[in-house]
């Protein structure tokens, strides 16, 4: 068990960046689990076992979405690009290119920081040192 979700020395990273990295790692793990269940269900012949796996995969969908929502709340540019791609009909790649271009241009014209919003990002402090 390591702490390899950090690409840089953890001690040098701000707390919010460590949280961000943890949620990114969690997002990856949920996506992997979704893929694993998909493979297992493709091969499993027992109907009951498949039902359990489908139920478990649903949990992973939920976890993935919660992780994603958290990360996008902390990263307005990511959120803006996602809004141009997710739940849209049509060509995904085209939407992706357009969303990226519009979001980056918009952020640049506003002089907004790209990595995070203008809020101080304090949020809940439950669990913070007292």
């Amino acid at each position: 068990m390591g702490f390899d979700q950090y690409h840089e020395p953890a001690a040098e990273l701000p707390e919010e960046t460590r949280t961000f990295a943890r949620l990114c790692a969690s997002l990856t793990e949920e996506a992997e689990a979704i893929g694993w269940y998909e493979q297992r269900m493709a091969l499993e012949r027992d109907r009951d076992a498949r039902a359990i796996m489908r139920d478990a995969q649903g949990e992973e969908f939920k976890h993935f979405c919660m992780d994603l929502e958290f990360l996008m709340r902390r990263t307005p540019l990511w959120r803006e690009i996602a809004q141009g791609i997710l739940f849209q009909e049509g060509d995904i790649v085209e939407h992706g290119e357009e969303a990226e271009e519009e979001a980056l241009e918009g952020a640049a014209s506003r002089g907004a920081p790209l990595a995070s919003g203008v809020s101080l990002g304090i949020g809940s402090l439950r669990g913070a040192d007292s």
């Binding site: 709340r73 506003r110 002089g111 907004a112 920081p113 203008v118 809020s119 101080l120 990002g121 304090i122 949020g123 809940s124 402090l125 439950r126 913070a128 007292s130």
Partner: protein, 267 residues
């Protein structure tokens, strides 16, 4: 363009980073409420009210076999703490100065943190916020100045919550005077009073400027709800040749939905 109008300020990107970091650092230790209550959000600046899930009948009914009710909501309050930063200091910051004078920002950060604590723990009548201490259904327990009796008072408060079927862990918001006394005190045998109180609580004990005495509350969740619209942000107001006038801002509402889940230990 954000309503904070940051891009209109004569402040470099590095200057904004310094200001934001200073505000974050100065504010966080004082934000006691956020260390103890449930936090929902942040939503955004356009989030104007908290849904109470309730409706009230209207005196003026439309008639004709129609019954009308109106939804009840709790409007968010906006807090704003203005401050100024000298432009000369900002220029020095851009040169790499590490002792930039942010005294006015530091004071504003403390003021707004205290205002948030007061609203959550002691209420704000005109804003429709009932504080945790005032809403408590338990008899207040006088805290006093004799620290040796604090564990007894806190244990009594915990017992009151347990007796009402309110589970822990429990947190304690200690006003500055009481907090100082606790930090300074070692019990018989040298065991720190702070640690003794934490063992009784099973949860955190936090420094809470703006709190009178102390407030003990359950942290099991679902009892005390902070609804954040815009989280703390620094905005731009105006500038002249000497200074940039900025402000710290947030919007929120607060509800104590389980008044029996807290006990006020009065000063």
């Amino acid at each position: 363009m954000s309503h904070l109008l940051r891009e209109h300020a004569p402040i470099t990107e590095a200057g904004w980073s310094l200001i934001d970091e200073e505000a974050r650092e100065r504010m966080t230790p004082a934000l006691a409420a956020r260390k103890l209550v449930d936090f929902d959000g942040p939503h955004d600046w356009e989030h104007s009210a908290t849904n109470l899930g309730r409706a009230q009948s209207l005196a003026d009914q439309p008639g004709g076999g129609i019954e009308a009710t109106q939804r009840r909501v709790l409007p968010l309050v906006e807090l704003r703490a203005p401050f100024a930063v000298a432009r000369a200091e900002l220029r020095d910051a851009d040169r790499g100065a590490e002792d930039v004078d942010f005294a006015a920002l530091d004071q504003a950060a403390h003021r707004i943190a205290v205002a948030e604590n007061r609203a959550v723990f002691h209420g704000w009548g005109t804003a429709g916020i009932v504080g945790i201490a005032e809403s408590s259904t338990h008899d207040p327990i006088p805290l006093g100045e004799d620290c040796s009796r604090y564990p007894r008072h806190v244990a009594k408060a915990v017992e009151a919550l347990l007796g009402a079927g309110i589970d822990g862990p429990y947190g304690l918001a200690l006003g500055p005077d009481a907090h100082t006394r606790v930090l300074e005190t070692g019990e018989h045998g040298g065991y720190p009073l702070l640690e003794h109180l934490r063992k009784i609580l099973g949860g955190p004990l936090v420094w809470a400027p703006g709190v009178q005495g102390a407030v003990l509350l359950s942290m099991r969740g679902g009892d005390f709800l902070f609804d954040c619209g815009e989280d703390f942000s620094v905005g731009y107001d105006n500038h002249d040749a000497d200074a940039v006038h900025l402000y710290l801002e947030e919007s929120f509402s607060f509800r104590a939905v389980t008044p029996e889940a807290a006990v006020w230990l009065t000063p």
